[in-house]
Amino acid sequence: MRILIIEDEEKISEFLQEGLREEGFAVDLAPDGEEGHFMATTSDYDLIVLDLMIPKIDGLTLCRKLRSDKITTPIIMLTAKTGVKNKVSGLDAGADDYLTKPFAFEELLARIRAQLRKKDGLTDNKLVVDDLSLDLQTHEIKRAGKTLVFTTREIALLEYLMRNAGRVLSRSMIIEHVWDINYKTDTNVIDVFINHLRKKIDQDHPRKLIHTLHGRGYMLKGSP
């Protein structure tokens, strides 16, 4: 899942990026409103974390602008301003959630999970395809009752596949949602990671879940 953080305070975006990356998110940073607007409109993000006080275009204006540009990506606002009035104006500008500084990182994570759940119409933090399950909170992965051990990047890839189970995902789509902007597109990497997933998930099972569609991409699908 790819997240855009629009925040001018370098130290804050630094720890946000690090913390979210360690949770398996692909994270891009924008230091001001203009760049944030450009990135949000040119790339397909799964979620945007938006600071209210940013240079060039302020957070509220940017939020309204993105919504009028038909960007429906969930937006979580960050601000040092407290008070109901500020929250109301933030939510009315099109934000989906609102978090005041200083916040607990775990709370931000939980709110990000909640927004992603809502986006994909999930009711809990568990993705299930056939006998494969992924707990989004604990990152526990099970196939037919057996716990499997994955790296962060593998989990991120699996999560994307499972969230879009039954749909064909092109390599560029996978790159866009699992790797961040700093990753120079080399689609071969995807093949390598897919192979890792296949080994862990499908090797010991007669029923294969990961399918390759030549010239089109990959698809995760349970038996009909």
């Binding site: 305070e9 130290k11 804050i12 630094e14 720890f15 946000l16 690090e18 913390g19 360690e22 240079p55 060039k56 040092a80 301003k81 500084k101 200083p102 916040f103 607990a104 990182f105 775990e106």
Partner: protein
């Protein structure tokens, strides 16, 4: 409650003073009235007594002359112990006592021994003789006396008496005593007493009621104001009480109260703004500390990573400390809480040392400095505060001036004061930001400039200059440079 109201105090003092004044006036009036009544009565008694003696003497003289003419030889011409005189006196009294001039009067005539010869009315036996020997009474002024008589078995009446002895050859020949009842005088005095002690208290009572009404009417706005003031709490300090257009003390009181409310309100708003600013500014370093610590603690890290984290955290703590300290200084300036340590300062010297202090920064960044001393200026001021203001301005100039450019500082004497100009050829400030740069926490956006202050420096500079009764102006053009002009008076009042 009513006893502790101004209304009650005004009315009770009013009534007390009024009563006292009426009492004093009443007593004085009563006594002077009484004195006058007595004097009138006494004058009347005296003139009637003189009339009576003159009339008797004339009568006696006429009778004596007739007797002489008739050839009757009366050996005794003296009125003393003269039976003829007794007869004449009796005769006179019987004939003349009905004279209208002697109405309401009793005439008594006593012989030289003080024994009553005749009385125009029946009087008790005890008054048939004089109470004092006639010789002891002054024949010119006579003697007044108040006595009580019982006439005709009526109830006793008070009478005023006047006794005057008539002398012949230095001996008392006879004595005339006139009596007149004092009932007239008593009636007038009791009428006066009734007015003074019955009618006046009634007037005082009515004045008291009128006063109470007036006090109620005139103090009503104060009660209204009390209600209004009670309505005002710390939550609606921006409310004002109604000001009555009465152009009196009450209007002034309401206006004074309102202006006090404005002062408190402004102070409170400033305080709230201070707290908001402070918490807002502190939230950023707090977010950094909290977030980076939480992320770091999520798993085991290398020793280098922990060290870097601790250093970062320390830096953020230092930031918080700096924000708090600067804000406190600023707040103290804004509350006029800073006493300037005024001394005579050599301004040229002060600028020179400030420039020397930032020289290393300029050298490191490759910025040139130029100092133009047009005049030697000495002025009164707080050297420490002015130095910190100058350093802030210079620091600012260094921050926003690229390498190879020049910062020019100029000092000269201007009308009634000193003028300092700090001019840089740096990136400048855009027109939209320019009016705000002295505001607390205002930070203009500078493309490509990484160094960012807290937005306190220029507010502090302005506070210092204003505390010195000077002023500061700024002109700037984007990409051409900024000039700060500071004017300072030579003397501090």
């Amino acid at each position: 409650m009513i006893f502790r109201s101004i209304r009650f105090k005004i009315i009770s003092w009013n009534i007390a003073l009024l009563t006292l004044a009426f009492l004093v006036c009443g007593i004085l009036a009563y006594h002077s009235f009484k004195f006058n009544l007595y004097r009138n009565m006494d004058d009347l008694l005296m003139s009637r007594a003189v009339g009576v003696t003159e009339s008797i003497d004339t009568y006696w003289e006429t009778e004596r002359q007739e007797a002489l003419n008739d050839g009757v030889r009366t050996g005794a011409f003296s009125k003393i112990n003269n039976i003829n005189f007794v007869k004449i006196a009796q005769h006179w009294v019987e004939n003349r006592s009905s004279d209208p001039q002697l109405l309401n009067m009793i005439i008594q005539i006593f012989d030289s021994y003080g024994k009553m010869i005749v009385s125009s009315a029946e009087v008790p036996d005890w008054s048939h003789s004089l109470s004092l020997p006639a010789e002891t009474i002054n024949p010119k002024s006579g003697r007044f006396e108040n006595i009580t008589l019982s006439l005709n078995s009526d109830k006793p009446i008070d009478v005023r008496t006047f006794t005057i002895p008539i002398r012949e050859d230095n001996k008392v020949a006879y004595t005339v005593r006139l009596m007149t009842p004092m009932s007239d005088v008593d009636r007038q005095l009791s009428w006066l007493r009734m007015i003074l002690f019955g009618f006046l208290p009634l007037i005082i009572f009515l004045i008291g009621i009128a006063g109470a009404f007036l006090a109620r009417v005139s103090l009503h706005p104060i009660d209204q104001m009390t209600t209004d003031i009670n309505r005002i709490t710390s939550h609606n300090l921006h409310d004002r009480i109604d000001v009555p257009r009465s152009n009196d003390e009450i209007q002034r009181l309401a206006e004074t109260f309102n202006s006090m409310l404005i002062r408190i309100d402004e102070h409170l708003i400033a305080q709230q703004k201070f707290i908001q600013d402070l918490s807002h500014e502190i939230k950023t370093p707090l977010t950094i500390i909290r977030g980076s610590l939480e992320v770091a603690l999520k798993k085991e890290r290398s020793a280098e990573r922990y060290e870097a984290l601790l250093k970062d955290t320390l830096e953020q703590v230092a930031n918080i400390t700096r924000i708090v300290e600067s804000l406190l200084i600023l707040a103290r300036f804004e509350n006029h809480d800073v006493a300037l340590q005024v001394t005579l300062i050599n301004l040229n010297e002060l600028i020179r040392t400030a420039l020397a202090e930032i020289q290393p920064l300029c050298d490191a960044k490759g910025i040139l400095t130029e100092y133009i001393e047009n005049d030697a200026v000495e002025l009164e001021g707080d050297a420490l505060q002015l130095r910190s203001a100058l350093l802030n301005l210079l620091d600012n100039a260094v921050k926003y001036t690229p390498a190879g450019h020049t910062i020019t500082v100029m000092v000269r004497q201007a009308s009634g004061g000193a003028k300092i100009e700090i001019k840089d050829t740096g990136i400048g400030i855009d027109a939209a930001s320019l009016p705000h740069i002295f505001e607390r926490f205002y930070r203009a956006e500078h493309a490509g400039i990484k160094e960012r202050g807290f937005g306190i420096g220029l507010s502090l500079v302005r506070s210092v200059i204003i505390a010195h009764e000077g002023h500061i102006d700024v002109t700037s053009r984007l990409n051409e440079g900024t000039t700060f002009s500071v004017s300072l008076p030579l003397k501090q009042t």
